[in-house]
């Protein structure tokens, strides 16, 4: 298990760097991160299932100005690792799947708090950089940026360790305490989650025609799915 955590930490560090500090190539998106974590902890498909739902849920919160959206990368680390471990122990039934998705909100908020902390520490780094430049050390700019990057990367690695550890613990210790029937009751909430994701996109893509095209497409695809099922 130790090498899995080591690999998760390395991958998590890269994904967290992509989230804010470097590149923004979307390597930090839940679909990517949850799939990666699923693969690391033994079941890529289970991780991807979590990623598919988590990918859209937080899109409504835009990283505009100084506002920090919930840490959906952390939610994906937790959800992906937990889903992979659950699938190989109690089985990833609908109830467990729902529980993991809902529990990931706690992780997303914890990650957001950590993000806020990093940016506050960066204030100190930026001030020290400015002071060094005032003293004539131009290279301090490069050192300051390296310090900021290192802080983002280390925090990402620590968060990945904490969240993947929490995911493994929840799947190995918490979920088995509830019987299949209890977990099954939880599944009643599952349909709300992808719809919440769709609503998230719907609300951040608002134009005059958004409502019409969204609901027409929804009805058409729903009808198509039905016809496909009935004819099969």
């Amino acid at each position: 298990m130790a090498w899995r955590f080591l690999l998760a930490i390395l991958l998590g560090g890269v994904c967290y760097l992509d989230r804010t500090a470097a590149c923004q190539l979307m390597l930090h998106r839940p679909l990517v991160v949850a799939t990666l974590m699923g693969a690391v902890f033994g079941n890529m498909a289970a991780g991807a299932q979590v990623g598919i739902v988590l990918e859209l849920i937080y899109l409504a919160r835009l990283p505009v100005g100084a506002s920090i959206p919930p840490d959906d990368t952390g939610a994906a680390v937790f959800g992906g690792s937990a889903a992979a471990v659950a699938s190989s122990s109690i089985g990833l039934d609908a109830g467990s799947f729902t529980a993991l998705l809902l529990l990931s909100v706690l992780v997303a908020e914890a990650g957001k708090a950590a993000d806020r902390f990093v940016r506050k520490v960066n204030v100190r780094i930026a001030r020290l950089t400015a002071e060094s430049v005032d003293r004539g050390d131009v290279q301090a700019v490069e050192h300051g940026l390296l310090a900021g990057l290192t802080l983002f990367a280390v925090t990402g690695m620590v968060l990945t360790l904490a969240f993947s550890g929490a995911g493994v613990a929840v799947s190995a210790e918490l979920l088995p305490r509830f019987g299949p029937a209890s977990r099954g009751n939880f599944a009643i909430l599952l349909p709300a989650l992808p719809l919440l994701g769709a609503a998230s996109v719907y609300s951040c893509s608002r134009t005059e025609r958004t409502a019409a095209v969204f609901f027409l497409t929804m009805a058409a695809v729903f009808g198509g799915t039905l016809l496909f099922r009935w004819s099969a």
Partner: protein
């Protein structure tokens, strides 16, 4: 005054360093350290034998700066060109600050709307839908859709900026990002509709008769509408998820 030209190596370094614009993002100067870091190779060229002026130039770029990171490439390119003019004595150093402050807000708004409001949702839904077929297909589609546009705009924006502040205006006009934003949002809405339709079909259809199916569709559409209304009223996805988690715990308790 003759100014050393910007070496190709330095131009490439500035281009590469723009990807670390947010490397030291902080609440006070926001992207200030990242911007100064990115433009540093150009400043070293322009003020090669004038350390005092180089220092002043670096300080100029440690002032508050914040914009959408991809749109930062455009401002960075134009700032390099302006610095070249300042170093040659053709422009007032204060013009750079005025230029950056004048542009970062509006470009930030345009960029936020395009990248976070249209392109990212579009790429995300496309990825999520294709991931239903195979996870790697979904990831590849998402990364290609997003980065195809993202990296092209960064490259073209930087090149336009390097033509000088005049090039920025022309490029913004040609890029027509407002039109692309509307198109992207519409496409994202279509894909999100398909996503909602797929999942509504998966979860709600159990009976098999038409009336039940219609009721399921209406229920799903009402749920989406309710969530969207909550978002408009500034309720966050975390709050909705927390509420659902609370309901789940109550179900378990019962």
């Amino acid at each position: 005054m003759t100014t050393p030209a910007l070496a190709t190596r330095s131009r490439s370094a500035v281009w590469r360093r723009q990807f670390l614009l947010q490397g030291c993002w902080n609440y006070e100067g926001m992207q200030n350290v990242g911007f100064a870091y990115a433009i540093l190779p150009a400043l070293r060229d322009f003020y090669a034998n004038r350390p005092e002026e180089a220092l002043k130039a670096v300080k100029r770029h440690l002032e508050f700066f914040n914009t959408q990171p991809a749109m930062g490439a455009l401002i960075l390119g134009a700032s390099v060109r302006l610095e070249e003019r300042v170093a040659a004595g053709e422009a007032d150093p204060r013009a750079i600050g005025t230029f950056k402050v004048g542009l970062m807000g509006s470009l930030g708004a345009i960029g936020d709307s395009f990248f976070w409001g249209a392109l990212r949702p579009m790429a995300s839904v496309a990825g999520a839908l294709l991931a239903l077929l195979h996870p790697l297909l979904g990831i590849a589609a998402m990364l290609l859709v997003y980065n195809g546009v993202h990296l092209t705009l960064r490259r073209r924006g930087f090149a336009a900026g390097m033509e000088g502040p005049e090039g920025v205006v022309g490029w913004l006009k040609r890029a027509a990002l407002n039109v692309r934003t509307d198109d992207g949002k519409l496409l994202a809405a279509i894909l999100a509709g398909a996503y909602a339709g797929v999942f509504a079909g998966r979860f709600f259809v159990q009976g098999g008769n038409t009336l039940h199916a219609l009721a399921s569709l209406l229920l799903a559409a009402a749920a989406v509408h309710l969530f969207a209304v909550l978002f408009r009223k500034a309720v966050s996805p975390s709050e909705i998820l927390s509420f659902l988690l609370f309901v789940g715990v109550l179900i378990l308790w019962r």
